[in-house]
Symmetry: C2
Subunit: 356 residues, 2 copies
């Protein structure tokens, strides 16, 4: 490690939760990473301290103008006891892309990864064991200067917190019911859809809430121009198996470039599958469905890795995909990525990074 | 007042700044309003306390997912010593429209106004005197539940802070130079453009920064579909005088419904001017300019009331509007609204609300 950080250990360690029944993102570990930014010193004073409340001026930029970003990745412990991260360099790169879009000062990518390693190392006993569990890592940055007016903050905090998590969806890999959203949109080219910033998520709650009220677990986002082309599934990327082609929406400026998406594409290429990044319309899906060619549909993201879609409601028609069962491509992608992450499978892609 | 709130007075009053040289939104008064929300009690425990830092869990929703909104209005003291607000009921209504879009629980509109009145009353000695000054009022609400995952917060804080302000633009009513933004967009129909939520502002910083680097004070936002129709000017609404027609972009789902915009439209109607809310393209502007018909262009918003645009750069052409001077319509609108707000002019529209 190039960077090291002073550590203040907690004097009141918390009780670790039972791995069974763990929900997502509700329990936090004993420590957190904090780093400050000001215009004179740049990023400075990186430190690990006991997990605890932070203090903000009520005029802090983050509370008013949403100058904030976050990342998400996971740490696992292999059977051999090795603690490892999955492609943290990709999160570091995406952080700086987001920062650029939000006028947040860039973070040294090696420092970003070293800070994660240092924190995970200290709280490694919090990594839960059991199928579908992991230690979720949440780096985030926000502007905390106290002033009102639309301009970028002069000061920032970069923090990392950790949460032992169970499966993102209560039913694990069970296929979900999905609603095609045709009123609200998530993002548009020229906006912030490519960036992992708070505003994208606050703005997506309404459509999600309406879908939940109607009995659907997920939403399929369409493009903002014609509400015709598929963008994403909830806060995850979208994959389809149509005949023998695996398809995901091409990155177009409004889609978040998922690291799981990137990994699935790379795996498919490696395995010689026919994989396309292209525009795909909801009409094409419907036609493929009627022709018996829509074999699979699934979401990809760090939280669940892969989440199959079993039912898709569009224009009053309920399309049932692969008999409401997880399909072979989704299953293989899940098994391979989760296998590599947990050390159950050889890391033939060179994706894991040890925490030493 | 229907609602009353317990008050804890500061024991360490701050020194009030000199009205001269006041900048926008950097100095805050002695007190603030705070109210809590949880699912069991709804909004509760509204209180006025000394202005000071707040404490948040690092996993608080507002720091990650941008579930946050704000409002802005001003209080003035008339020569007769009456403290008054300008159309606070409009801010209360817009708050609830924003809240609905962001899945934030609605606030009783009378409570919203009463809370403002109660706070302004306590800190009324902070209302600065002098041309272009006012006490800026910033109500804001954010989700503060501690969890990670995309769903709405179960708890919220509604706060109001006050800031004595000078003119928003350093040069007061001097015309600004404007850049037509053709890469980034502010909002799109189905998104959050109509709502006053943090994400819209964080996402707009980049374009603003680029414009500033190029030597422009403001940006003209175009629509997300074709980058052809005019949406807004920075964080303000756009007005044009073309021949004898006063034009502002029609509310289309992506434009913030400004209260100053609404007031200008009402004033123009009252005075019998030809005022249109309609689509207006950048090409129409350019043609009007070449035909000598683009008489005025100005931004409208609470911060500056009216801000004339003196130069507009589009496709390499520098259009100089009204000889880079404020035009008669902008001047009349400023004089009338500022006159009503400060009590220098009779409130013939019934817009002011006393703080008693
Ligand atoms: C909007 C959105 N799309 C897609 C993804 C998937 O990205 P990743 O695979 O990097 O987790 C995420 C993050 O989880 C997301 O928030
Ligand atoms: C994006 C945006 N547009 C327009 C306005 C003008 O609205 P108002 O006249 O209510 O201040 C504002 C707020 O100042 C704004 O933030």
């Amino acid at each position: 490690m190039k960077y090291e950080f002073p550590v203040t250990k907690t004097t009141a360690p918390k009780t670790k939760p039972d791995a069974k029944g763990l929900r997502f993102g509700t329990v936090f570990t004993d420590h957190m990473f904090v780093m400050d930014y000001n215009e004179k010193d740049g990023w400075n004073n990186g430190r690990i301290v006991p997990y605890g409340p932070i203090t903000l001026d009520p005029a802090a930029v983050v509370l008013h103008y949403g100058q904030e970003m976050f990342e998400g990745l996971k740490a696992y412990k292999t059977a051999a006891g090795r603690v490892q991260l999955f492609r943290p360099d990709m999160n570091a790169k995406r952080t700086n892309n987001t920062n650029d879009r939000l006028c947040i000062p860039k973070v040294d990518e090696e420092l970003f990864v070293d800070a994660i390693k240092a924190l995970v190392k200290i709280d490694q006993d919090w990594i839960p064991e059991g199928e579908g569990t992991a230690l979720y890592i949440r780096p985030f940055i926000f502007g905390d200067e106290a002033f009102l007016g639309v301009r970028k903050s002069a000061t920032y905090k970069f923090m990392i917190i950790l949460s032992p998590v169970g499966p993102y969806f209560e039913n694990g890999l069970a296929p979900t019911k999905m609603y095609v959203e045709d009123v609200y949109v998530r993002a548009v080219k020229g906006g912030t859809g490519e960036a992992k910033c708070g505003g994208n998520y606050g703005g997506s709650l309404k459509a999600q809430e309406i879908a939940h009220e109607k009995g659907f677990e997920q939403i399929l986002w369409l493009d903002a121009y014609e509400q015709k082309y598929i963008e994403e599934i909830g806060a995850a990327n979208a994959f389809f198996v149509i005949g023998d082609e695996i398809v995901t929406s091409a990155l177009n400026g409004s889609i978040l470039p998922g690291i799981t998406r990137n990994s699935i594409i790379a795996l498919c290429k490696k395995k010689g599958y026919k994989i396309s990044e292209r525009k795909i319309s909801i009409d094409e899906l419907e036609n493929a469905y009627h022709a018996g060619q829509l074999k699979e549909m699934f979401a990809s993201g760090t939280a669940a890795i892969v989440s199959p879609v079993g039912e898709l409601l569009y224009k009053g028609e309920d399309m049932v995909i692969n008999d409401n069962k997880i399909g072979p491509v989704a299953q293989e992608m899940y098994d391979t990525i989760y296998g590599i992450q947990t050390g159950k499978m050889d890391d033939f892609m060179g994706w894991t990074v040890p925490v030493e």
